[in-house]
C-alpha cells in the first residue's frame, strides 16, 4: 500500500528557495562571511540553488561546498552494512565564517548533529546555521532549523522525497506513505 502525494511543485519550490535566500541574507546582513555547505546527497542541489539565488541578489558569489557526514554518523553500526561514503568537497576555510548547513529534509536531527561535528573538524566557524527545504518533524535531538522552506506534518513511516533536477523543470517534493513500519526496534 504505497501512496504518493506531491506537496510542492517547481513553482512552490522556486518561491520557497527565494524566500530562504532572502531570510539568510536578512539574518546575516549580506554575504560578508557567509559560506554554504550542502549535506550530501540530498542537500547538494538545494545548496547549489540557494547559492545561485543569493549570488544573484547580492551580485557576489557565495562559497558553496559539500559534505558527506557518513563518517560522523552515530548510527553507523546500527545499519546492516557500511553505507557508501561520498566525497567531502569544502574548498574554502570555515575559520571564523558563518556556515549555513543546507539539507533537503530535517527529520530526526541525527544527520545535522553529524554535520556539526564534521564542520567543527574543518575549523572553527563563527556560527553555524541550518537551512532545510522541508522540516518533517520527529526530532530525536535538540536541533531546529534557522530557515525552513516548508513545514510538513508526516508520520514516522512516511518517506519524503525532495527531487531537484539540474534544469529545475521537474522539481517536486513528495510524500510517500508506505504504510509499513520501518522503525528500528
Amino acid at each position: 500500500m504505497v501512496k504518493k502525494k506531491k506537496v510542492m511543485d517547481s513553482e512552490a519550490i522556486r518561491r520557497a528557495l527565494m524566500r530562504l535566500a532572502h531570510e539568510v541574507l536578512e539574518r546575516n546582513k549580506g554575504v560578508g562571511d557567509l559560506v554554504l555547505i550542502g549535506i550530501r546527497r540530498g542537500g547538494e542541489q538545494v545548496a547549489v540553488r540557494l547559492a545561485g539565488i543569493i549570488g544573484e541578489i547580492e551580485r557576489s558569489e557565495v562559497p558553496c561546498g559539500f559534505m558527506d557526514v557518513t563518517m560522523y554518523r552515530d548510527d553507523l553500526y546500527h545499519m546492516r552494512h557500511q553505507p557508501e561514503v561520498h566525497k567531502t568537497e569544502v574548498n574554502f576555510s570555515v575559520e571564523d565564517k558563518v556556515v549555513v548547513l543546507v539539507d533537503d529534509v530535517l527529520f530526526t536531527g541525527r544527520t545535522v548533529r553529524a554535520a556539526m561535528d564534521s564542520v567543527i573538524d574543518l575549523g572553527r566557524p563563527r556560527s553555524v546555521q541550518l537551512a532545510v527545504m522541508v522540516d518533517r518533524g520527529h526530532r530525536e535531538f535538540p536541533i531546529r532549523a534557522d530557515f525552513v522552506g516548508r513545514n510538513l506534518p508526516t508520520t514516522r513511516t512516511d518517506l519524503v522525497n525532495v527531487v531537484l533536477d539540474a534544469e529545475g523543470k521537474r522539481d517536486r517534493v513528495e510524500v510517500v506513505e508506505t504504510g509499513e513500519s520501518k522503525e528500528k526496534e
Binding site: Q82, F107, T108
Partner: protein
C-alpha cells in the same frame, strides 16, 4: 530518512575479508576505488581524524618485516579513530614455538574487529580467515597477492589518467616472486587495461598468460607503447638473485634509465611499489623524475587502507545478506 535509505541499499561487496583481487568483480574493485576517493580528503585536513571507527580494534599481524605497509595501515586506522595494535613476528610467541593458528585464535580471543595480516607464506591470510571469525585484510602473503598495493596502484593510475580502461601497462621485473605483480595483473586486467609482464625468462612463470596478460622478455621494445610502467623490486630476500647473473646485468637489460625512456610516451607513468633499489630497477633520475608517481602511490596507500578498514571493519553482514 537517511537511515531508511541506507537500510534498503544492497551490500556492495560479496566478501567479508580482503584476501586478493582475484576473487573480486570489476564493480567491487571500482567501488573500493570510489570509496578511496572519498576518504582521501581527510589526509589534507588540519585535523586529520574522523570518529568513524571509534571503539574498533585493528590488529596489525605482521609475520614478516614491513615498514611502509604497516605504517600505512597504522596511520589509516588512527585517522579513522580505530585503536591499532601492532604485532610483529620478532617479538611474538611464534618465536617461542606457538603455531600460526594458535596465535590467531589467541588474538581473536582479545576481540579485535579486524586483522591485517602480512605473512611470508602464500595463503596464510586465507587459512586464518577460515579459522577465525574476524574479517581479515591481506597485507601481502608470500608470492600470492598484495591486494591493497594493487588497489593503490589502480587508484594512482586512475587519478592521473581518469580511467584504467584501454591503458597499456607493463609490469617489469621478478614476476615469479611478486605478489604485487599478481594483484596488479588481476586488478588492471579486470578494469580493462592490457597488461604485459616483462622480465628475464627465468623470472616469468610459464603459463602466466592464463591470468590474462601478455609476456615479453625484452624491455626496450615495449617501452614506446606503454602508458604505465610498473617496476618491481628485485627481492634478494626471496632469492631473486639466483635468477640472473648479476645485478649489473639485470639493471642493463631490465632497469629503467632516462636513456631508455627517451622513446616512451610523453605522459608515461613510472611506478614502483617500493622500496626502490636505486641503480638496479630504476636509475635515480627516473625515480625522482617527472614521470615518477612513486610518492603518489605511497600517499594514496593511506587513503586506500582507510577505505578498506572502513568497509571491512563495520561488521558487514555481506556473507549472510
Amino acid at each position: 530518512m537517511e537511515i531508511l535509505r541506507h537500510e534498503h541499499q544492497k551490500p556492495k561487496l560479496s566478501v567479508t575479508s580482503l584476501l586478493g583481487l582475484r576473487e573480486l568483480s570489476r564493480e567491487e574493485i571500482e567501488f573500493m576505488l570510489d570509496q578511496t576517493a572519498s576518504f582521501k580528503e581527510i589526509n589534507y585536513r588540519p585535523i586529520k581524524k574522523v570518529p568513524t571507527l571509534r571503539g574498533k580494534t585493528v590488529i596489525n599481524l605482521f609475520f614478516e618485516p614491513s615498514t611502509r605497509t604497516k605504517t600505512s595501515f597504522e596511520i589509516a586506522g588512527k585517522r579513522l579513530s580505530a585503536d591499532v595494535v601492532n604485532f610483529s613476528a620478532s617479538q611474538s610467541s611464534l618465536s617461542k614455538g606457538e603455531t600460526l593458528s594458535d596465535t590467531a585464535r589467541n588474538l581473536e580471543a582479545m576481540k579485535p574487529d579486524l586483522l591485517v595480516v602480512r605473512a611470508q607464506g602464500s595463503g596464510v591470510p586465507e587459512m586464518l580467515s577460515r579459522m577465525v571469525a574476524v574479517p581479515i585484510i591481506n597485507a601481502g602473503d608470500g608470492c600470492h597477492e598484495h591486494p591493497t598495493q594493487g588497489l593503490l596502484d589502480l587508484f594512482t593510475v586512475r587519478e592521473h589518467r581518469g580511467k584504467i580502461e584501454g591503458l597499456k601497462v607493463a609490469i617489469v621485473g621478478d614476476i615469479r616472486h611478486s605478489r604485487v605483480a599478481r594483484s596488479d595483473i588481476y586488478g588492471f586486467s579486470k578494469l580493462g587495461a592490457e597488461v604485459t609482464v616483462v622480465g628475464p625468462a627465468t623470472m616469468i612463470p610459464p603459463g602466466i598468460e592464463d591470468l590474462g596478460c601478455k609476456a615479453a622478455y625484452h624491455l626496450e621494445p615495449v617501452i614506446p607503447e606503454m602508458d604505465v610502467i610498473m617496476m618491481l623490486r628485485i627481492q634478494m630476500e626471496r632469492g631473486s638473485g639466483k635468477f640472473f647473473p648479476s645485478s649489473r646485468e639485470y639493471s642493463k637489460f631490465f632497469g629503467l634509465s632516462m636513456k631508455k625512456l627517451e622513446r616512451a610516451k610523453k605522459d608515461v607513468l613510472i611506478m614502483h611499489p617500493g622500496p626502490v633499489n636505486r641503480g638496479v630497477e630504476l636509475s635515480p633520475e627516473v625515480a625522482d623524475g617527472d614521470f615518477s608517481v612513486i610518492l603518489d602511490q605511497v600517499e594514496n596507500g593511506v587513503a586506500v587502507r582507510m577505505a578498506l578498514l572502513y568497509l571491512f571493519c563495520g561488521g558487514t553482514d555481506a556473507a549472510t545478506a
